[in-house]
Symmetry: C2
Subunit: 155 residues, 2 copies
């Protein structure tokens, strides 16, 4: 089978893009990862309209990226905070990849505005590609191959 014959219906890249491919979704996830959990704080920092944010947060709860937690400040009505679900934690891979590419190729590599830290030891975190033989692998040395779920496109 050649690549052009592969059925793309179960492509995991496309599936993840279906989940987080809308630009605001990843920027909202960035805010929640960074510790903003409340509607007003996210809306103000992102400069997104309250209506668009409300709609987007609702969708992100529906698909299981965020969960609502109630809080209530003295004299105010009960409101929601937004927190990452356990499944969404692994989207750090995607955010870290976007960050690392931007730092390396689009920004000033010597002066990134944001770095990632290991909460355990404080060390700076970066992404690496590793292979099952134990090599660290450069992006240019990666090639796709068919896995056990590969299906030929019906013609």
């Amino acid at each position: 089978m050649e690549w052009r014959e592969l059925d793309l219906g179960n492509c995991s890249v496309a599936a993840t893009l279906n989940l987080v491919g809308e630009r605001w979704t990843l920027l909202i996830l960035r805010e929640v990862f960074a510790g903003l959990h409340r509607f007003d704080a996210i809306a103000e920092h992102l400069g997104i309209s309250r209506r668009a944010l409300s709609e987007r947060l609702r969708q992100m709860v529906d698909v299981g990226l965020l969960e609502r937690r109630s809080y209530q400040e003295a004299g105010q009505r009960s409101r929601h905070e937004y927190h990452l679900t356990a499944g969404a934690q692994d989207l750090q891979w995607v955010l870290a990849a976007l960050l690392q590419y931007g730092d390396t190729h689009l920004g000033d590599p010597a002066a990134p505005p944001v770095v990632l830290r290991h909460s355990g030891c404080g060390g700076q975190v970066h992404l690496e590609l590793h292979c099952s033989c134990g090599h660290e692998v450069a992006g240019s040395d990666v090639e796709p191959a068919f896995g056990p779920g590969a299906v030929r496109m019906s013609t």
Copy 2:
């Protein structure tokens, strides 16, 4: 400074999304990574309209993700192939992150349609988060911190 005070104008995540955040862009990059370089092959495999593909390829050449190379088949006019630029190779980080998230959380982890291989040894490639102290780090143990390029939002 708190996160909500950080000026997002030089955010590397947003910069990379500006470059590749349009859904077709990442899917076209996936095709070129996988070895499809010719217009007709990409159009047919992706199921994208010829007009949309043409426009998108032109933009990807303009921003330096793809480069055109001429080829000519006997009896035909000269045409272009599309190849990744050196800078675009590191977008493997982004594609690998999307793939790995989808395989883990959205697909059948035991039967991915596509795997990544190290062209040197054939070993299967995956992403890891590492810290500068040498630990492999889980997504849930990553936290953002301000880097030297952090700027406070002007009020």
